[in-house]
């Protein structure tokens, strides 16, 4: 028995959410006194692979077959399942990224494993029962999932588990499982990724705008605030429905669920559907000129005022704070 963690890479690099997942997997392996093996698919440097040892991976299976250099859902799921079988892993961990969500269900079926997707905490293993806490109802509640199968797959919500550095380097082992030709039916034509922008599901800080901003031309100050804080940009549903901002920024019950350390909402009233998407935020700041806006009821800090006056002043205040820090 062991734990396997799929270390997803983006253009050959591991992101913070992957180090979180390795730390999480390490803690699970420690719970049952078993080992942790990572599997990486694609072109990742030896140094980066070995560095997974810092977060507790004892070994990394390196799948560098050229056919697998770009993500192919069906093929990657087969590779990860083969890695699990090779390592006798009864628990498979993934980060609940967009790619992770495509892989988790297929791996679950291949391994006849119960799945806890979007976990927010370590599993509880007591009295022979294995339970995991995850969010439900699009962030309006939590659910405890009990997995009864021998094999288990857990996908971890980004920014839910703190990275733990244990020090050490992982051994690297080349792994080349047989993959069916029919696993390669989907073919990538193009990948479009802006490397400089912070991705919303992973973001530690989010700056979000609503209808109170009145028009898309007024987003510059939010972009400036986000840049200053290293934050991702988000918006409410009416804003993305109106085409002011892309759907990928829509946070809410029918958009993205975020779990940042800090969520700054500007000109958003706080409808129940929007609140669902941000309920896992650690600290919420609301800036709105309407003192009765429902959002203030769930805010930790608030400023009642005109966004067009408050945000520029806030930007100045942050610049001053950074200069003096």
């Amino acid at each position: 028995m062991s734990v396997l963690i799929y270390a997803e890479n983006a253009e050959g690099k591991f992101k913070k959410s992957i180090f979180e997942a390795v730390s999480y997997a390490r803690a699970i392996a420690d719970q049952t006194h078993t080992s942790l093996v990572a599997v990486s698919i694609g072109n990742v440097s030896t140094a980066d692979l070995a560095a997974l040892g810092k977060y507790g991976a004892e070994k990394v299976l390196n799948v560098s077959n050229d056919k697998l250099k770009d993500f192919v859902n069906q093929a990657y799921a087969s590779v990860i399942a083969e890695a699990a079988k090779k390592e006798n892993a009864d628990i498979v961990i993934l980060s609940n990224s967009f790619s992770g969500r495509g892989l988790t269900p297929r791996i679950g079926v291949k391994l006849q494993a119960g799945i806890a997707d979007g976990a927010v905490d370590l599993p509880q293993q007591q009295d022979g029962r294995f339970t995991v806490k995850k969010t439900a109802f699009s962030g309006k509640a939590f659910a405890t999932v009990e997995i009864s199968s021998a094999n288990k797959v857990i996908s971890l919500t980004p920014n839910s588990y703190k990275i733990v550095e244990k020090g050490g380097t992982a051994a690297i082992e080349d792994f080349s499982p047989e993959i069916k030709e029919t696993d390669f039916k989907a073919m990538i034509k193009e990948i479009v990724r802006s490397a400089d922008k912070v991705s919303l599901p992973d973001a530690e800080i989010v700056v979000s705008g609503g209808r109170g901003l009145k028009s898309p031309e007024n987003w510059k100050m939010l972009e400036d605030l986000a840049d200053l804080l290293g934050a991702a940009l988000a918006c409410s549903k009416p804003v993305s429905d109106a085409g002011w901002r892309p759907h990928s920024e829509h946070v809410g019950q029918t958009g993205i669920a975020v779990s940042p350390n800090l969520y700054i909402a500007v000109g958003i009233s706080g409808a129940i559907q929007h609140l669902a998407g941000i309920s896992s935020s650690k600290v919420i700041v609301v800036i709105n000129k309407d003192a009765d806006a429902p959002f203030f009821k769930v805010a930790d800090y608030g400023i009642v005022g005109d966004a067009f006056e408050v945000v520029p002043k806030l930007i100045t205040a942050i610049k001053q704070y950074k200069a003096s820090a």
């Binding site: 495509g102 439900a136 659910a143 039916k185 989907a186 990538i188 034509k189 029918t254 350390n261 800090y301």
Partner: protein, 245 residues
Amino acid sequence: MKVLVCISNVPDTTTKITFTDNNTQFNTAGVQFILNPYDEIALARAIELTDGGNGSVTVINVGESNTEPTIRKALAIGATDAVRINAKPHDAWFVAYQVAQYIKGNPFDLILTGRESIDYNGSKVAGMLGELLDLPSVSIIKKLDINGDKATIEREIEGGKEVLTVPLPFVAGTAEGVAEPKIPNMRGIMSARTKPLQVIDPVEVKTFSEITGYKTPEPRGQVKLIPSDDPAKLVELLHAEARVI
């Protein structure tokens, strides 16, 4: 082209979520149920793709008779016919297994689901169907175009998108952007009553997971208001007190 759209019956988005039976059951008292918003997008795209006599759209739901109003809504929006597998949707695996069994006896060129249901947010059914039927699956797509026997798809990734081609048949989970949800017109509403809705029995399958309890998030404390002319105070609090910057 024969399209299958998997639909689920979910609490409407304004619902305040509460639990009963010692926090082990979702409290359905007074709750309005709707067609899952992402499934509406899948259905709209399926109707667009088969428009003008270019095929059919079957909707399938795993649920008990309480889901029939939602199924009729899907028929009113424009689905050709419907199937209800008469069972409580225990979890995504149970649902996917039932639907896969149906598909094995009734093949389709394209199988769509919403990217996730807004009650359990699993994003699992599309991938499970793909695996059970040995078909490619793409979860969370933003764009779907079909040219003959091949599809060009845009898939959401962190900070961008991926463009890929997939041969039919395949499974995909639709997100916002694939299509605008369709509002049923009068003719649709009238015809929904007589369009075929077949009810079939579920097959036995072992399940691997169960939700044993729920919790509502802890209510947050009172908001600390900062005067609008003193944003430096907010910065100080975020740094020294909240420790988030």
